[in-house]
Every structure is written in C-alpha cells, then in structure tokens.
C-alpha cells in the first residue's frame, strides 16, 4: 500500500508490481485449474488451456458459445436452476458437475463459480474454477457398486447356508428331546441330507471366492476338443443320459490360450446346466462349437431344453441366486462362477433363450486372442 500521495513514477512502479502479481497469480491458476469466464447469460468469454484440454473443444469453438455446450444431461434441471439462482444473487456456488467433452466422453469437475460484482453489487460476469475429479468419481461409483455386490453376496450366502443349517439345528434339538431309540434313528437318518447340502454349498462358495484370489492365473495352450471330451466323460453322460445327443465341433477355433482350470469349469457348468434343464418332452440335444469372430475366440453351447424366461430372469441369470431346495444341483453359484471366471480373463458371456424351445450360451473368451 501507498501511505502518502505518490508521484507518477512511484504510481507507475506500484501498478507494475500489482500487475506482475496478478499475472503471476493467473499463471498459477491456469497451471492448476480449469478456468472459464462467462457473461451473465452463461456465454463463454474466456477459457484457459486446461479447459480446452479436458473438454476437447478448441478455444475458438468455445468462445461465444453458451456454457450448455458441455452439459452432459446428467443433472436434474433443478440442479442448474439452483446454481443460477445462487450466482445471480452474487453468491459463490460450489459443487461437483459431470460435463460432456466434444468426443462424447464424460468428465467430472469439482466446481467453484464466483460472480464479479459491479458497483451496485450486481454480477456482470462469472468465473468458474474447476478441478478434474473424474478418477475419484469413478472410484466412488466402483466402490458403491462393489459394496452393493458384497451386500447381495452376503444375503445370498446367508440364505443358502441358513436353509440346511436351520434344519440341522431343529433336527438336533428334536434328537435331544427324543425318548425312543426308534424315533432317534429316524431323525438321525434325516441329518445326512442337509449336511451334504451344506457341504456342497460351502465348496461352491469357496470356489467362487477362489477366483478373486487367482488374479494372475497362468494361461496355457489348450485343445478345446480334448477338454470337452474329458468333461463329457466326467459327467458320465453316455451312461446317465443314453438318449441324449451331445455334439461338438471345435474345428473353426481348435486351440486357445487359457487357464485349464477355468476352461474345464466353464465347459462343465454350461454342459451340466444344459443337461439339468433338459425338457421332459423331447430327447436332449446339445451342440457345442467354437469359432472366431471380431478377433476373439467364442464358444457356443446350444440346447433344446426347457429354456429360460429371459424377461423375468434374464437379468438375474448370471447373478447369485437363492436356491430351491428341491433341486440339488442348483445351488445358485454355478453361472455366477462361470461369469466371474470369464470376466476375470477379460472375456464376456451372455445367453439367448426362448421358453420351451431351448437356450444358447455364448462365451467370448478374450478379445484379440490369437490362435
């Protein structure tokens, strides 16, 4: 500050130092933040390089445009009404906004908008200062998703384990309170079933958790046909289902680089599903083939079974499911395990089905997997 009436030279020096300070502050701000100025209607009058960089628009494409050009349509109209009400009153607004870049991609910015006020206290322009928080927002959403998944997992596991466990508790207390030996024997005979069920559910649970720990599981060169034949043999298909026809053709994509454990498990789960949900009205026919499409290796497992009501159950198909007690094979984890294995290896799986006609499962093993 100047403490007495300055002469011209002093004033010039003083102003120069103020401008230099301001210039330095602007450089500091431009280096760190995404900055834009707009007029009171929201038309852009200035953007810095960081704004152009993140929005992927050029300086010239932005100047004169309304700020809506980067609106992503994500927020409710009320969100922006509130923003405008605040700054039009001359107050500072803070918040997180999702914007849309020129190429259609989205980015999140922590935003502060400060009105510049005239002598009467009315805004004549606004400056917005933003910081890119896209990464944090993504992590936040991912975390929410994972939390929800874990919660569901917990509920399903609890449900599926609770059913046989509560039967065991009740049977045990009945055995304890039982007076005749005959009666006791009868009750003890009933214990085996829930114990086995509990054991199977537990094993599947361990298997599905195992996948998450495998992380860097090793790929090896595998012949699809060899693996499939082993599965057919292990399921004892010829003996147990002599009427069924199981055909396979892996000539279009005969080999794959994949973890053997996973490939065997995927084949086993899909084939046993096809067998389990065979239609009582016709002989079971399963066709399995591999092929190359869009640089990936695919496997298709097609059956003529009872089919799936995709409208009612399509979304839940690969999720964890609560189990039905009457069906001993369906413990609710097998398709979930399959999906987790496929996705862990960078692939994808989906199903098509029509009730009463049959189902087809498509596994895309991994993108750009060469033979």
């Amino acid at each position: 500050m100047l403490d007495k009436e300055p002469d011209k030279g002093q004033l010039f020096k003083y102003l120069e130092s103020v401008f230099t300070d301001l210039e330095q502050q602007k450089i500091a701000l431009d280096k760190s933040a995404i900055v834009a100025f707009t007029d009171i209607k929201g038309n852009i009058t200035y953007v810095n390089d960081k704004f152009c960089e993140i929005s992927k628009f050029s300086h010239d494409e932005l100047i004169g445009q309304n700020h809506r050009i980067i609106n992503s349509g994500y927020h409710e109209p009320e969100f922006f009404r509130n923003l405008w009400r605040t700054i039009a009153k001359g107050m500072v607004w803070n918040g997180d906004i999702r914007n849309k870049a020129k190429d259609g991609s989205f980015y999140w910015v922590a935003t502060t908008i400060v009105p510049y006020l005239d002598a009467r206290g009315k805004p004549y322009q606004y400056v917005s200062i933003r910081f890119d928080i896209t990464k944090q927002k993504k992590q936040e959403l991912e975390l929410k998703h994972r939390t929800k998944q874990l919660e569901d997992f917990c509920f399903i596991v609890s449900h599926n384990l609770r059913a046989p466990l509560s039967n065991l508790l009740l049977l045990t207390s009945m055995i304890e309170g039982c007076e005749s030996f005959e009666e006791q024997k009868l009750l003890i005979d009933r214990v085996a079933k829930p114990v086995h069920l509990l054991n199977e559910i537990f094993n599947e649970l361990i298997a599905s958790l195992q996948i998450r720990q495998d992380g860097e599981i090793k790929r090896e060169s595998l012949f699809l046909q060899d693996c499939f034949d082993k599965i057919v043999e292990s399921l004892n298909v010829e003996v147990l289902y002599p009427d069924s026809s199981i055909r396979s053709n892996f000539t279009k994509a005969p080999t794959i680089q994949y973890p053997k454990k996973y490939l065997m498990s995927i084949m086993q789960n899909l084939l046993s599903n096809a067998i389990r949900y065979g239609s009582p009205d016709r002989k079971l026919k399963v066709e399995v083939k591999s092929y190359e499409k869009n640089g990936s290796i695919w496997m298709e497992v097609k059956d003529n079974g009872i089919g799936i009501d995709m409208k009612a159950n399509g979304k839940k198909l690969f999720g964890l499911r609560k189990t039905f007690h009457h069906n001993h094979d369906a413990k609710g984890f097998s398709l979930f395990i399959t999906k987790t294995q496929v996705e862990t290896m960078g692939g994808s799986i989906h199903a098509e089905s029509e009730l009463g006609k049959g189902s087809s499962f498509y596994v895309q093993f991994n993108k750009n997997d060469s033979i």
Binding site: F155, S158, H159, N160, R162, A163, P164, L165, S166, N167, L169, L170, L171, S173, M174, R190, K193, P194, K322, T323, F324, H325, H326, N327
Partner: protein, 133 residues
C-alpha cells in the same frame, strides 16, 4: 390351548416339511396339516376347497423361494381369491432370507401377519399357534 383346525405348510424343503409335521404331531396342535412344495400347488388346492371350510386353512406358513410359483406370486394369487374366502386366514412368511428388502416387502402386505427368519423353533411355532387359538 385350543387346537387349530387346518394348517398349510408351503415350502419346497422336504427336510423342513418333515420337521414341522413331526413337531405339530407330537404336540397335537393342529388337527389337519397340508403340505405343498410350491405356491401353485397350494393356491390350486385352496381354490378348489374354497367352499369347504374344513379344507380352508386357519394358518399358512409360507416360504418365499420356491420353484414354479414362489411365495410372492402365491400372495398375489391369494389376494385375488381372498374376497371369496369366508374365513380368517393368518399368514406367516417363514424364510431363510435376511435381506431387508424381502422383510420390508413382506411387511408391506397387510395379509402377512409376520416375517419369521428360519429356523422356526418348536417354541416359536407353539407360540405362533397359541396366539391364534
């Protein structure tokens, strides 16, 4: 305690069916117990028995997760039948699910008296039936 005339057990778990049946028999709590392995079997039976008060239940123990027709679908169909039933029926949902969305959904249905998480112990079963008599 007065015995209850008719109880429906709607649950696909045969071990659980066995347990409930034996517990009820040993205490002489219910004159007649009918067991159905899914909602469809129960609703079809109820519809056919609607004019026969002996066959219409006083109490239904209903599981949620069942094949063919689950507990929710059973309740929807029950609501349609209800105006034609000339008897008060008490329904308890008895499930292994501890998912709060299941619990809230069940409690929002006025026909459901309570939601019970398995195991349904002998003591709990007796007190349920006792509150009814």
């Amino acid at each position: 305690m007065k015995a209850i005339d008719t109880l429906y057990l709607v649950d696909d778990d045969d071990t659980y069916q066995f347990i409930v049946e034996r517990t009820l028999a040993s205490f002489d709590l219910v004159k007649s117990i009918k067991i159905f392995s899914n909602g469809k079997l129960a609703i079809d039976f109820l519809e056919a028995a609607i004019d026969n008060p002996d066959q219409v239940p006083d109490i239904i123990l209903l599981d949620l997760t069942m094949p063919v027709m689950d507990g929710w679908q059973f309740l929807e169909n029950y609501l349609l039948l209800k105006p034609r039933i000339g008897k008060k029926i008490t329904i308890y949902v008895v499930s292994s699910s501890i998912d709060p969305t299941d619990m809230e959904r069940a409690k929002a249905i006025s026909e459901v008296t309570d939601y019970i998480v398995k195991p349904l112990s002998k003591e709990k079963l007796i007190s349920l039936l006792g509150s009814l008599a």
